[in-house]
């Protein structure tokens, strides 16, 4: 998808050690706003406050109220305004304060943002990025921990991205901002404070490719966003138990990189999909269904899902029982051999 990879000259030199994912996103917005004045950022509390997660910290001060501003609390109008701005050539990046608070904008998302290019036979493109902090694990009260990626992924016309690492948070957000298509950019809340000592990439890679985070031969773990670290931890522990596990970070749910997934599963013959959203009719179902359709004759065992339960997101004191854990992933791994 999106912009051709291009070298970028404006201040994306390596960044101080100990960058958090939230800071990497902030830096990505900063760098894209410097790179292109058509990029504007707005939403609830993104201006002076810098966003409740500080992802937009300093942008209003640096680029002025015209390019980074607070809106009234009206999500449908926020997204609708972004659509109108994009029609006039701007590249809006809007923040939905928490996943569940993007729901009031659902009509604008499904009936306009996703359809405008198609409706106008390509005459009107909407390069809008909708940033959605999603998922749980941060002790949020109800409505603050939903995972709504499946709704977006089932809506043709939207690109759906979710980073699982600090580097990707930076690189994928920059690519999303440069893209020609609307992107719903799901940010794993509980990774906002995860730290990496990395020089952020200076190239903006086109997105849409999954990446193998760990090579393995016994089984393939497919994860994205908040479950990437869990899958990697499970692979580490699994190694001690003699399992050589491959870990794929999807990064992009739409476009969906089936080559990387299928090629891996054809090698390993076994797969587990790990995500935080409820399993029923969740995104994992699509991954499992495709694997079964395309890798049928290579499968040694049924593909398993390790997901959240089919329940409303739990209250803070109970969320740990709901979230996919390393233990659950390893239980699923051993089950891949049990039923033969």
């Amino acid at each position: 998808m999106t912009a051709p990879a291009q070298h970028d000259t404006d201040g994306t030199a390596g960044i101080a050690p100990g960058t958090t994912l939230a800071k990497a996103l902030n830096r990505a917005l900063h760098d894209e706003m410097s790179h292109d004045d058509r990029v504007v950022v707005f939403g609830e509390d993104v201006g002076r406050l810098g966003g409740v997660f500080r992802v937009t910290d300093g942008l209003a001060a640096r680029f002025g109220e015209q390019r980074c501003f607070d809106t009234p609390v009206a999500e449908s109008a926020i997204l609708g305004m972004a659509i109108g701005m994009a029609m006039y050539g701007l590249r809006p990046v809007v923040e939905m304060q928490f996943d569940a608070f993007a729901y009031p904008a659902f009509e604008q998302l499904a009936s306009h943002l996703a359809k405008m290019r198609n409706r106008t036979r390509g005459a009107v493109s909407l390069p809008v990025v909708v940033r959605v902090p999603y998922g749980g694990g941060i002790g949020g009260v109800e409505h603050h921990s939903d995972s709504s990626e499946a709704y977006a992924a089932h809506t043709p016309g939207l690109h759906v991205l979710t980073p699982g690492t600090v580097e990707d948070a930076y690189g994928m957000l920059r690519a999303a901002v440069r893209g020609a298509d609307p992107v719903v950019f799901f940010e794993p809340k509980r990774l906002y404070w995860s730290v990496a000592d990395v020089a952020l990439p200076t190239e903006v890679e086109p997105v849409g490719r999954a990446v193998i985070r760990r090579a393995g031969t016994h089984a393939t773990l497919v994860a994205y966003g908040p479950t990437v670290p869990i899958a990697l931890a499970a692979a580490e522990l699994g190694a001690a138990e003699g399992y050589d596990l491959e870990v794929i970070d999807l990064r992009s749910l739409v476009p969906f990189d089936e080559q990387t997934v299928h090629e891996s599963v054809r090698r390993t013959g076994r797969a587990i999909v790990v995500h935080e959203a409820s399993g029923f009719a969740g995104f994992g179902a699509e991954v499992v269904a495709r694997i079964c359709e395309e890798c049928f004759h290579h499968l040694e065992a049924p593909v398993r899902r390790v997901t959240g339960f089919d329940i409303p997101y739990p209250p803070p004191r109970l969320e740990r029982f709901h979230l996919p854990s390393v233990d659950r992933v390893l239980d699923a791994v051993s089950s891949l051999w049990r039923d033969q």
Partner: protein, 370 residues
């Protein structure tokens, strides 16, 4: 035609409709303001006559099955034309499904205007070229688009104004409120015009809101609210022109309620006898906006029988062009289904496009498929 009170609130000098009673036609418009010169009025008249003839043609095409459906604006021509003629070519216009007459008045090709309704595609014209958004069907959802576009234009230093049309029913939607509040607080160069035609499909105005005037909503956002006789071209055009100038001058948004009436069914598929009586329609026919403007122009000696004949002839040929265009148009290309979902199709879409192409090739022809 109107007086201003301290809240900057312009009210029409007559009460168009008593709240709970069935809709009543407006009293005669008390003398048109001199702000609309005769040349403009004549141009508007021509567009209204052509527009109505186009509307009648489209309704006929719908009856004949050449259109999937057609929502007529018969009787609302003063709004359809008065609004569009107040805009510059560089301004942006956001119409609803009801506003095809406004779209052709904007200069969009009549066949391209009807593409949504022929069912060939969702939007047949190029919004960028015509600065006219696709007909919007989800009610009130275009209002925030207009606000955003207006703010973007100001942001890049253009003096573009955005104007959004909607109906009385749409004003009950959350998006209408969110858009007006946002426009006011950011002083967006946008104008909202509500065509209050008395009904949301079958639901009369009095069952949609307790308000007697939608212009009263404006006060809640501290923007001017204007109520005009929507069947009076001069009233509509002067009010919209003033609002557009105000927006262009950086003085922020305006809400205009144009009180009119939907003479035709909601669409050709609707049966209005279920919810309104013919007498009401007849009363409103007595306030035909075209006849009203014709009388005004004849009074001022700029319209006579000769000119009327020429205008009618133009209307005929426009209708003829529309009919022939709709009848003669090529069949839509199924390949378009996959071409514009994204800037570049995903591999899955590319595969689906190949599958359909193969099916079509294999079959004796599209007719046989399915």
């Amino acid at each position: 035609m109107a007086t201003t009170d301290q809240t900057g609130h312009v009210r029409s000098s007559y009460d168009v409709r008593s709240p709970r009673s069935p809709v009543e036609p407006p009293a005669r418009s008390a003398g048109a303001p001199e702000t609309v010169d005769l040349a403009t009025s004549l141009a508007a008249y021509r567009a209204m006559v052509v527009g109505r003839r186009f509307d009648i043609q489209a309704t006929a095409l719908a009856k004949q099955g050449s259109l999937s459906v057609y929502p007529s604006s018969y009787g609302q021509e003063a709004c359809q034309v008065g609004v569009v003629l107040a805009l510059r070519a560089t301004d942006w216009f956001f119409p609803t499904y009801r506003d095809s007459v406004a779209v052709v008045t904007r200069g969009v090709d009549p066949v391209e205007t009807l593409t949504l309704l022929t069912g060939d595609w969702h939007c047949g014209y190029d919004p960028m070229a015509s600065r006219t958004a696709p007909h919007c069907t989800p009610l009130a959802t275009q209002a925030p688009h207009a606000v955003g576009l207006a703010l973007a234009a100001r942001c890049v230093g253009d003096d573009t104004v955005a104007l959004a049309l909607c109906g009385d029913g749409a004003t009950s939607e959350g998006d209408f409120h969110e858009a007006l509040n946002l426009a006011a607080v950011r002083a967006a160069p946008v104008v909202f015009v509500v065509q209050n035609n008395g009904y949301a499909i079958s639901v009369p105005f009095a069952k949609q809101t307790r308000a007697t005037s939608l212009a009263d909503r404006a006060a809640g956002y501290r923007m001017p609210g204007v109520r005009v006789d929507g069947n009076d071209l001069l009233a509509v055009h002067s009010a919209v022109t003033a609002a557009v100038d105000r927006a262009r001058g950086g003085r922020g948004p305006t809400l205009i309620e144009a009180v009119t009436y939907r003479i035709a069914p909601h669409t050709n598929a609707d049966d209005p006898s279920r919810y309104r009586d013919a007498a009401e329609v007849e009363r409103w026919r007595g306030h035909d906006p075209i006849r009203r403007l014709a009388a005004h122009l004849r009074r001022h000696g700029v319209l006579d029988d000769d000119l009327q004949l020429r205008i009618d002839a133009d209307a005929e040929s426009f209708a003829d062009r529309t009919r022939r265009g709709v009848r003669g148009r090529p069949a839509p290309d199924p390949a378009d289904l996959f071409a514009h979902v994204y800037a570049a199709p995903t591999q899955q879409l590319a595969g689906q496009a190949r599958q359909l192409a193969a099916e079509i090739a294999a079959s004796a022809g599209p007719e046989e498929t399915s």
